[in-house]
């Protein structure tokens, strides 16, 4: 496969298209972490007492924990005292009230990323963007329209100020502050994020979306997202991210919590395209994320869809706790690793309620020297009568120096449950390419067709707006080899 080797070389040599640094003043805390830093973050954000208490509890617990080492990834030790835990773009007095007041530098950044915020606001009610630049939300659009329906969609800081009762009720109910090393760290120092509350019986009329972006050097970004769908509500949430090019590794430890009450539905889609480091594995984002949804009520449904093409290291297991009877959990994932990227990703499906169902479809693509690991757990507890799980994990290898690994953990305690797990690993068959070429399709187009077909099951689950971006991303990521 001479052409393929050539293409992979080209692919390895591509530069990160979105790598640039926006130069604006940032109001940062000096590097280091102790209780004073936690208090300072809380004070800067003018948080009520319960939030500070919660942060301190998390911080004290974090100090007793050690960094996990079980994941199939390698990285130099992180010095948590060398990171600055807070960075906000400087505000002149009050925060901006409309897009016109937003720092033009910021707006340019989004334009470079292809998210013309201004245009988006005009584009009548298609997508609402709660844009996060480093740690503080600078603009939130379409809030008024959502407000009329009673939907709360705002930055986490605003939610703490305006809806403290909702935050206090649901924060940490899915991912407790003791959950794991990175979640505890996040609980102690999280700066901002998004908050969504959809009231009883409301169907959110538009896709909600947040664009994340890491900027100021040496700042770990600690996002916290909380989405609550009350009884009978439904919401679809999109998350996408890109980050500027930088030589130091950046830590990102986000937490996402989803709560679905009786008959509620939440769909959470992610396209992740953070800086993966250069072809020697230098630089790149460390993406250590805890994402979990709880189907707390009967007939509730949580669906995760993710396309992971960026980050030097991805450590991420969007999970579902299927507590309510007849609840449904879904996980659809495409993870691509190239050059020296490492991904250890998968899901957990915990079946507690009766007649709970879960579906896992995971597609891993490894190229260059990338290491791609699927790690998932399906747990069917004693009371989960007639629980049903179907898991499918397929891996595709492009190149002879990459790796693909599958580590499913399956624990079943109920005889009426049905659990099926299938996995396969293969390369693109030479006979498949030959078949296409024979019919006048070039080798590159053939590879493109085959890769797209391989991922189709997942892309199909993405909302329209994202499906296009995802296909484009995959195209960029495999540029050269897929034409």
């Amino acid at each position: 496969m001479k052409t393929e080797t050539q293409n992979l070389e080209e692919l390895a040599n591509r530069d990160y298209k979105y790598g640039f640094v926006t130069d604006i003043d940032a109001d940062s805390l000096p590097p280091g972490l102790d209780e004073d830093v936690v208090r300072a973050i809380s004070a800067k954000k003018n948080e009520p007492e319960f939030m500070l208490e919660w942060r301190l509890k998390a911080f004290r617990h974090w100090k007793t924990m050690t960094e996990p080492t079980w994941a199939f990834v390698k990285y130099p030790e992180i010095d948590y005292q060398a990171i600055s835990y807070y960075s906000a773009p400087k505000k002149a007095g009050e925060g901006p009230k409309s897009l016109d007041e937003v720092d033009p530098e910021l707006l340019k950044t989004y334009e470079k990323l292809g998210i013309p915020l201004k245009e988006q606001e005009i584009l009548a009610g298609v997508v609402a963007v709660d844009a996060v630049f480093d740690s503080v939300s600078v603009a939130t659009t379409f809030k008024d329209k959502l407000h009329d329906l009673g939907i709360v969609f705002c930055s986490f800081s605003e939610a703490v100020q305006n809806h403290p009762e909702l935050v206090e009720k649901y924060l940490g109910t899915v991912v407790p502050h003791t959950d794991n090393f990175f979640a505890a760290l996040n609980s102690a120092v999280f700066s901002d994020g998004s908050f969504v509350y959809v009231p009883k019986g409301v169907r959110c009329p538009m896709e909600l979306s947040t664009y994340f972006r890491i900027n100021a050097a040496n700042t770990g970004q600690f996002e916290r997202t909380l989405i609550v769908a009350d009884e009978g509500a439904s919401v679809s949430y999109l998350e996408g991210c890109t980050a500027p090019m930088r030589d130091e590794n950046q830590l990102h430890a986000a937490v996402v919590e989803l709560v679905a009450l009786d008959n509620a539905k939440i769909k959470y889609s992610t396209v992740q395209n953070w800086y993966p480091g250069d072809k020697d594995g230098k630089g790149g984002i460390y993406n250590f994320v805890t994402k979990r949804g709880k189907c707390a009520g009967v007939n509730s449904k949580i669906s995760w869809t993710q396309v992971e093409t960026g980050s030097a290291i991805t450590w991420k297991y969007p999970s579902c706790i299927l507590q309510g009877d007849n609840s449904i959990g879904e996980f659809y994932s495409v993870a691509l690793t190239n050059n020296k990227q490492q991904a250890d990703t998968g899901t957990k499906m915990i079946h507690i309620g009766k007649n709970t169902r879960s579906t896992i479809v995971s597609k891993g693509i490894s190229a260059g020297e990338g290491q791609n690991t699927y790690r998932g757990q399906v747990k069917i507890l004693k009371g989960a009568d007639n629980a049903r799980n179907y898991s499918q994990c397929d891996s595709m290898l492009l190149g002879d120096r990459c790796g693909a690994h599958t580590f499913p953990y399956i624990d079943v305690q109920n005889p009426s449950a049905t659990m099926e797990h299938e996995a396969s690993t293969a390369k693109i068959g030479e006979d498949q390419i030959f078949y296409c070429q024979q019919r006048g399709i070039s080798a590159e187009d053939a590879v493109s067709m085959i890769v797209n077909g391989f991922c189709k099951e997942v892309f199909r689950e993405l909302p329209m707006e994202f499906a296009v971006e995802a296909q484009k991303l995959l195209g960029i990521s495999l540029e050269g080899s897929v034409g």
Binding site: W70, S395, L397, L398, G399, D400, R401, C402, G403, A404, H405, T406, F407, P408, Y409, I410, D411, V412, Q413, N414, P415, S416, A417, T418, M419, E420, H421, E422, A423, S424, T425, A426, K427
Partner: protein
């Protein structure tokens, strides 16, 4: 680490009379002993031992069994499996029950002490070379404490199978034995080997066994491993096979016994075009716990491996399956398939299954699958609607589930024994 204070007792009780042994063996034992003393019994905090607790083994005071246990096993069905057999009672070779030692039919059979005289270069090169004791504390324990090892060397195409039988008697104080088996199949040679573990009813001992197998170029080995220990016994086994170019290795394992059984099986496809098959049927009930860890390590190109581990669980039994397929960087054109179907007969049974793929080569075909479920209600209904009673229908379906593995057993006498034992066990399982 659990109960490390028990180690010295175990090590002194079994560590006697090593002065006559050659220096290399004493060194090997000392290294293994040091390693075991430093790591101790594995704790369930270790990933490899997550679902299996050996606290019961660590807290038991084992002693060597008193001599003279052979009488109790007169007429044991396993004695009739093969005409050529080595019989160990409580870890000691019983020369009266054993037959066919020495060199005949293309196979040399004997103990390590005899092999040192007659097969000197073989034993040192084979012994303890491929068990990694740091990850296998029980293998280190075996190396430190085994009494005498069995050595089998096939240099031609053997016509008759060889049986290595371990019998454990019921003793006052729980007894422990450390069987060691070394198998070398020379280039072009063929061998059928039955390795079995039976215990007297109520025996509470520990069997900690290690089996090392080397299959040379173009050679073939069919290995049948029966674990029928008593329901109160503990069994920890390690089996490691290395297969050279175009070599064939097949293991047919049957885990029916023991209160707690843990078996680590590793097969390394170490030559081009080698072929491995790991089959296992585990049938457990009451509070039995069976844990199988397997690794199929594809180190060279064009290797084929097949692995089928089937489980039948009833009552409060637990099964753990951890199967890893590793395809190394240069092992192109590997074709590996693994499956682990489990049948839960009653409520209360629990399965942990972890089929794993670890792949570093790109031109490979690897699949794994695992299923857990109960008997198909429609199939039951189909049979019952044709006048077949529910118990009989159930047994037919379960028998069908297991048939694939029972039918492949290459030694007819053993296959017949297994059919009967399987039927008896199945009849004893009560479903609602």
């Amino acid at each position: 680490m659990e109960s490390t204070q028990q180690l010295p007792g175990l090590l002194t009780a079994f560590g006697g009379r090593r002065e006559e042994e050659p220096a290399w063996l004493r060194d090997l034992r000392q290294q293994a002993r040091d390693r075991f003393e430093s790591v101790g019994f594995p704790s369930s905090k270790l990933e490899e031992w997550k679902n299996t607790s050996v606290a019961a083994i660590a807290s038991t005071d084992y002693a060597p069994a008193p001599a003279g246990g052979s009488a109790a096993f007169a007429g044991h069905p396993a004695l009739d499996f093969c005409a050529r057999r080595l019989v160990f009672v409580d870890g000691r070779l019983d020369t009266e029950l054993s037959t066919g030692l020495g060199d005949r039919d293309g196979v040399w059979v004997g103990t390590l002490a005899q092999a040192r005289d007659q097969q000197a270069q073989l034993t040192e090169s084979l012994l303890a070379r491929r068990v990694a004791p740091e990850s296998q504390p029980f293998a280190a324990l075996n190396t430190a404490l085994f009494d005498d090892a069995t050595v089998i060397r096939a240099h031609g195409a053997a016509a008759e199978p060889i049986h290595v039988l371990h019998l454990a008697s019921r003793t006052e104080q729980p007894a422990a034995s450390f069987p060691r088996l070394l198998v070398q199949v020379d280039a072009q040679a063929e061998l059928k080997l039955v390795e079995s573990f039976f215990g007297a009813e109520g025996a509470e001992g520990l069997t900690c066994s290690v089996c090392e197998i080397d299959v040379a170029d173009n050679a073939g080995l069919e290995h049948v491993r029966l674990q029928f220990e008593s329901g109160n016994a503990h069994h920890v086994g390690n089996a490691h096979a290395t297969v050279a170019r175009s070599g064939r290795y097949a293991c047919h394992a049957f885990d029916f016994g023991a209160k707690l059984a843990r078996v680590d099986s590793t097969a390394k496809l170490n030559g081009e075009g080698s072929n491995c098959l790991l089959n296992c049927l585990y049938l457990v009930s009451d509070k039995q716990h069976v844990d199988n860890h397997t690794t199929l390590d594809h180190a060279m190109p064009h290797g084929d491996s097949r692995e089928v581990y089937k489980g039948i669980l009833a009552d409060n039994a637990r099964a753990v399956f951890n199967g890893r397929i590793r395809v190394q960087l240069d092992a192109q054109k590997t074709d590996a398939k693994q499956s682990n179907p489990n049948l839960l007969m009653t409520e209360g049974a629990l399965v942990h299954t972890r089929p794993q793929l670890e792949i570093y080569a790109d031109d490979v075909k690897c699949t794994h699958g695992a299923t857990i479920g109960e008997l198909d209600a429609e199939a039951m209904f189909y049979l019952q609607s044709r006048g077949i009673g529910s118990t009989e229908a159930r047994n037919m379906l379960v028998r069908g589930f297991a048939a694939e593995l029972l039918d492949q057993v290459p030694v007819e006498s053993v296959r017949q024994f297994l059919e009967e034992a399987f039927g008896r066990r199945l009849d004893a399982i009560r479903t609602a």
